[in-house]
């Protein structure tokens, strides 16, 4: 992808996040030496090939090939900068995989331009997605503000979610049985951008919420019953509208309203509700556990139907 206009600093960040990703794929700690890398590589290949019973039929053949590519790539990348292990240990590295030294994939690898990896997404993603993306996808010209390492090129319409599901959402509880597959075919295929996966804390945590000065803010006090009304007051005292909250948490307004209205029938199942409450607490900058536990407790006491 054309990411040449990123600054030097951003490039280093990307390199770091790549390296982290490779470590995750090989399941090694950063700075692992060559012998450790080799052992991790052999374990990974054995898992993917199902030679270790623990990996048996986990991946279909295409996914297995993709995973193999990732592991090969991770091994090659990390090997370049890995410290050499002390001589005495070297006998430990026994080749257990037939694809160890010069697998075919590695030859194909050489023709791939280096910058294709700059997003931290392994080759397989790019290769598989290639027919969908097409070369016309413009690179993001806007420098990303909040997360400098990631260029977000959103389709213009994307902040508002697709609205086909809007009507049924109003009538049904959020926790649904297996969905029907009757959505219109004409839906846009997801506009594909290649982005490294980043930890959720980083992405969701930072939101711009217009907040009132601290002393005016409504807070949870000991003994407060944590119910929908309290969450509404917390939100309103921070100058956050339902729309703002939906935008920052990505949770639909109907669900947020159901929480505030204590519309028990419309609430999602407890295990999911906890996640939504946590997201709300994060945006409103209140104690997450307290809000989630308190509200779930409230639902349990008042919401149990028949």
């Amino acid at each position: 992808m054309e990411r040449k206009d990123t600054s030097q600093e951003q490039a280093e960040d990307v390199a770091d996040s790549n390296s982290q990703r490779w470590c995750e794929i090989l399941d090694v700690t950063p700075g692992a030496n060559t012998v450790e890398l080799k052992a991790a590589y052999d374990r990974a290949i054995a898992l993917i090939d199902g030679k270790s019973v623990g990996g048996y039929l986990m991946l279909d053949p295409i996914a297995a090939q993709a995973a193999r590519d990732d592991v090969e790539r991770a091994y090659q990348e990390l090997k370049q900068t890995a410290p050499v292990a002390p001589k005495a240990d070297e006998g430990d590295a026994k080749p257990t995989s037939p694809t160890v030294e010069h697998p075919d994939e590695m030859d194909a690898e050489k023709s791939v331009p280096e910058e294709r990896y700059s997003s931290g997404v392994p080759r397989r993603v790019m290769r598989i997605l290639a027919p969908v993306v097409g070369p016309k996808d413009p690179p993001s010209k806007e420098p990303a503000k909040k997360r400098p390492t990631i260029a977000i090129a959103k389709p213009a319409a994307v902040t508002e979610p697709p609205c086909a599901g809007e009507k049924e959402r109003a009538t049904t509880s959020a926790a649904s049985p297996e969905a029907s597959t009757d959505a219109p075919e004409a839906l846009p295929v997801p506009a594909v951008k290649l982005l490294p996966s980043i930890p959720p804390e980083r992405a969701v945590g930072e939101v711009n919420v217009i907040t009132a000065p601290d002393e005016e803010r409504f807070v949870i006090r000991d003994g407060d019953e944590i119910n929908g009304g309290l969450i509404r007051r917390l939100r309103e005292s921070r100058g956050v509208t339902i729309e703002d909250l939906a935008k920052t948490t990505k949770v639909q307004k109907s669900v947020l309203r159901a929480i505030e209205d204590q519309d028990f029938d419309a609430l999602p199942a407890r295990v999911y509700l906890r996640g939504f409450l946590t997201q709300i607490a994060r945006v409103l900058k209140v104690d997450r556990k307290r809000l989630a536990d308190g509200y779930l407790d409230f639902v349990e006491r008042h919401g149990s139907r028949n």
Partner: protein, 317 residues
């Protein structure tokens, strides 16, 4: 019932569902004995045989099949408290799933939600839900709606194959359950329909597609999905000479993390032990009959880890 002197239980982290793939892996035996171990440690436990249509926890427990069962609750003929019978083991109550009612063996989603709601409000510290084999909606839904899920597998290809299938099914089902809240139903539908073109082969690939559409949305969904963190028990794990089936557990967890994007955690392994066979034949829990057998020792330790984890998970959520 028996012991009301203990403080009111922490509300959450207490419904533990045991499921996963293949029959015969030892789910019911594991669940029953864990329930007994927890009851012995002073927890007030309700053991629910939710293997609707294939229930036999009563046999492992050594009690006569109760006259009132889950089907009476599902059919609204009895409350859950009514069908929870006291067992001879202090602190342990038991809800039988032994059903002769086809309708009740296939509850719809609302009925399952109702059952779960009522289970959640029962007066006890821990609820153990023994689920049936397979990846049907009954199993998967209970597994997902519980506070914690435990997969029991044997270190054999057939069992492991089914465990992965179960994990994939559960992951997708959980994603489907939150699709409305995040308005991603259409996105998932399109993605699943075009999964070959889009390269969707693992759960991680689906999250990637959402990420690519909208990164912040992807992060929010990812965060919600991170709550899916089942635990793994490898049963009849041999540790002898070159064979170390504990590695199978570690391998599965590692593979799930790396290639599936599912945070599977190892709860532990249980050794093969003839005490289990003897106890099943005699129709009593091995942990009572042979508390010092290797399998009993391992299971007792595991049940303590399970409780620790429940409180930890709850705090981290």
């Amino acid at each position: 019932m028996v012991n009301h002197t203990q403080p009111v239980p922490a509300k959450a982290g207490r419904i533990i569902a045991i499921g996963g793939g293949k029959g015969g892996a030892g789910k019911s035996i594991f669940t029953t004995n864990t329930a007994v171990a927890l009851a012995q440690s002073g927890k007030r436990v309700v053991l629910v045989d939710a293997d609707l249509g294939g229930a036999n926890v009563h046999t492992i427990l050594g009690v006569t099949p109760p006259l009132v069962t889950l089907s009476d609750f599902i059919g609204r003929r009895a409350s859950l408290e009514d069908v929870a019978i006291q067992t001879p083991i202090p602190n342990l109550r038991f809800v039988s799933g032994a059903l002769d009612d086809v309708q009740a063996a296939n509850p719809n989603y609302q009925q399952k939600m109702r059952l779960l709601r009522h289970i959640a409000s029962m007066e006890c510290d821990v609820l153990m839900l023994d689920l049936g084999a397979g990846t049907g909606f009954n199993t998967v839904d209970f597994f997902l709606l519980a506070d914690a899920g435990v997969l029991v597998v044997l270190p054999e290809p057939t069992s492991i194959e089914n465990a992965y299938r179960f994990l994939k099914a559960a992951f997708l089902r959980r994603l489907r359950a939150i699709q409305r809240a995040f308005a991603i139903k259409d996105l998932i539908d399109v993605a699943m329909r075009n999964r070959n073109a889009l390269g969707i082969h693992t759960p991680a690939d689906i999250l990637r597609i959402i990420d690519e559409r909208d990164h912040e949305l992807g992060a929010a969904v990812r965060q919600q999905m991170a709550g899916f963190s089942p635990q793994l028990v490898v049963n009849q794990a041999i540790v002898d000479g070159d064979t170390d089936d504990r590695q199978v557990a570690e391998d599965m967890a590692s593979a799930c993390r790396r290639f599936f994007g599912i945070h599977l955690r190892v709860l532990g392994t249980l050794p093969p032990d003839d005490a289990v066979k003897r106890a099943v034949r005699a129709r009593h829990p091995f942990i009572l009959a042979e508390p010092h057998a290797p399998v009993s020792v391992a299971l007792t330790q595991m049940s303590q880890r399970l409780m620790l984890d429940a409180s930890r998970t709850e705090r981290a959520a």
